[in-house]
């Protein structure tokens, strides 16, 4: 009943965080206030001030927006063009690389299209690329930047799932590069088909572009060394990167006037505030759902229809594609990950691999007709009818779907970077159930009344707990 009410509210343009508040209140009523008191929702929101890593989100968002509204995108395009412009489909590859890079820094917020679209679309058309291809490149080409550091959705997935963001960043590297390579090959083929003239390589132009981008070049190097090699933790990297971007773009380059800093700060905080308030309110709902063992029940129900891991992954892909084009990527991560994570564990899917599947799926959903958000942003930005953008994006979406299948069904592409110890075979099912049961002794928070039980009961109780250790000794 409460689920139906929540769905009706959600479809009727009620902000998602309000849907979550209403759902939490309805759950309180349905499960009885003793189980889920109304006040638990306030405690959940207050727990935003206790969660690890969250401080990285506003910092990276602000830094990314500062970069997007500065002259950095122009310098980035000039530099990429100097390096890659000589390839067949050179400028289109530049567009794909540039959009991906900016999406990694700004999150999948559509800012990439706003920041780079005005620059790249006329340039692509001028070089002779077809209009549909050019529109598709900018609208869909960069959406998978979410797989690269310091992408905000990856950080959020780490926060929600409890998986190390460092592992997630490393795991996203190969899938992300594969996607860039595939789209670049497509761009090259289209460039040759359309007889787009190639730009001659010039050392002079490369030198000029390098000099112009001298302040921005250290940033990706810092992020790659700092995050991928584990020199900094993510929140430290966020602080240093944001401080650096602020100093470079506002004080040294003066691309952004002081008067505009406030508007940029506000715009980035509108994005982050909107995400965090959903996270806070969803925690209350998810805690209630997990306490009521709904994921376990869902697994029991779907298991007869989905015996194999492959069938589950296929259904997950389809489900996430639909979700991805209906719900914002951040909201989808917050709402769905806690429900799917325990079910995926039953099928032996590593949470890091699951994260990469999630983000690739949701990233594709962003540009998928009929309601992917990038399509709407692009239709406003380029003043083109939405149907034209549907057609423009379809070839890119098909290619991305092929890559999604590769990423989903070859887990080693994502998990090869992880320590062997963390990529273990799944526990046998009985053991998993036992684990879940022991976790269900959440009542442990309330200490046992020692007077009510004698010592032998106490020891028996802890012996049961210690049985957990034996699970590790069993041959995998």
């Amino acid at each position: 009943m409460s689920a139906i009410a929540s769905v009706i509210l959600a479809l009727g343009t009620v902000p998602l965080f309000v849907v979550m508040v209403v759902s939490a209140l309805l759950l309180s009523v349905a499960l009885g206030q003793g189980e889920v008191p109304f006040g638990s929702i306030v405690i959940s929101i207050n727990s935003l001030a206790k969660m690890q890593l969250l401080e990285a989100l506003p910092l990276f968002a602000f830094g990314g927006y500062l970069l997007a509204y500065s002259g950095a995108p122009n310098r980035l395009v000039r530099l990429s063009n100097a390096v890659l412009g000589g390839l067949p489909g050179g400028l289109a590859i530049v567009a794909i690389v540039g959009c991906t890079f900016l999406t990694a820094l700004t999150g999948a917020s559509g800012v990439t299209i706003v920041a780079l679209g005005g620059l790249l679309l006329p340039a692509l058309l001028k070089q002779g690329y077809p209009e549909n291809f050019s529109l598709g490149t900018i609208t869909a080409g960069g959406s998978l930047g979410v797989l690269f550091a310091p992408s905000l959705p990856i950080i959020l997935y780490g926060v929600v799932s409890g998986v190390s963001t460092d592992d997630l960043f490393k795991a996203g590297l190969i899938p992300g590069l594969l996607i860039i390579a595939t789209l670049s090959v497509y761009a090259a083929v289209r460039g040759i088909q359309c007889k787009v003239p190639r730009q001659a390589f010039s050392w002079r132009e490369l030198g000029g572009a390098l000099w112009e981008a001298k302040w921005e070049i250290p940033l990706p190097i810092f992020l790659i060394i700092g995050i991928y090699r584990g020199v900094f933790i993510v929140s430290e990297a966020a602080v240093i990167a944001t401080a650096y971007i602020f100093i470079v773009e506002v004080i040294i380059q003066r691309d952004i006037k002081w008067g505009k800093v406030g508007a940029i700060a506000r715009e980035s905080m509108v994005l982050i505030g909107g995400i965090l308030i959903i996270l806070g309110t969803t925690l209350a709902v998810n805690n209630a759902i997990i306490d009521a063992e709904i994921p376990k029940e869902m697994f029991a129900r779907i298991k007869p229809y989905m015996e194999s891991k492959i069938a589950f992954l296929l259904c997950l892909n389809l489900f996430l594609l639909i979700v991805g084009c209906m719900i914002d990527i951040y909201a989808a991560v917050v709402l769905i990950v806690p429900l799917i994570l325990p079910i995926a564990a039953h099928y032996g899917i590593h949470p890091v691999h699951l994260g990469i599947i999630f983000l690739t799926n949701l990233g594709i959903g962003y540009a998928t007709p009929p309601v992917g958000m990038n399509l709407f942003i692009a239709t406003v930005r380029f003043n083109k009818p939405i149907l034209k953008l549907y057609w423009a994006c379809i070839p890119f979406i098909l290619l991305l779907l092929v890559m999604l299948a590769v990423i989903t069904y070859c887990p080693s592409l994502s998990t090869w970077v992880l320590d062997d110890s963390s990529v273990q075979a799944p526990l046998p099912e009985d053991d998993l159930d036992k684990l879940l049961e022991i976790e269900d002794l959440g009542d442990l928070d309330e200490p046992l009344d020692k007077d009510a039980v004698d010592d032998s009961e106490y020891l028996e109780y802890f012996d049961d707990l210690l049985d957990l250790d034996e699970l590790d000794k069993k041959p995998q």
Binding site: T13, E55, P58, A263, G273, I278, G280
Partner: protein
Amino acid sequence: MSGEPVQPDDDPLAPPHHEGRFARLIRRTEECFFVAILLALVGVGVAPIIARRFDLGSITWSIDVSRQLVLWIALFGASAATRDRKHIVIDAVSHLLSARNKFRLSALTGLISTAACGFLFVLCVRFVQSELEFNSAVSWHFGIPLWILSVVLPVGFLILTLRFIASTYEDVISSFVRRQPKDQEGPAA
């Protein structure tokens, strides 16, 4: 913001044309507030890195302060998102509606949001009261009592409620009054 007015299409950061002086003043205040919070986040984050670099000892309060600022960003960012009508929504039906019905739907959702935030405001006030009752003697860093930190919750939800009231009022008026053509496209998503 001096000089010639800039079209929003040319400048995505420009405030809306129809914004009054009072609304613009609030917007500027908000902008300054967010810049201050973000600079504080950077400052608080840099402090332990510098302290570690120069062996000045560990700064234990920095992580707690930055996490508290995250809660502020959640509440005040959400409040700004309400003003800009930029909350994350699943908009599955509004494109099927006429402009006037879009305003009516928006007014209805505004009413639900107002009620939910108003109720949360009451819950937050009770939460602060309970913190005051049970944790009044517990102090956070710098001698600040712990309960003071939770005051931001009712303040945030009060602002959210007021903003939802304002946007609902705008939508109700737009639902019944004939608007100029430029406003007939319906409320922003």
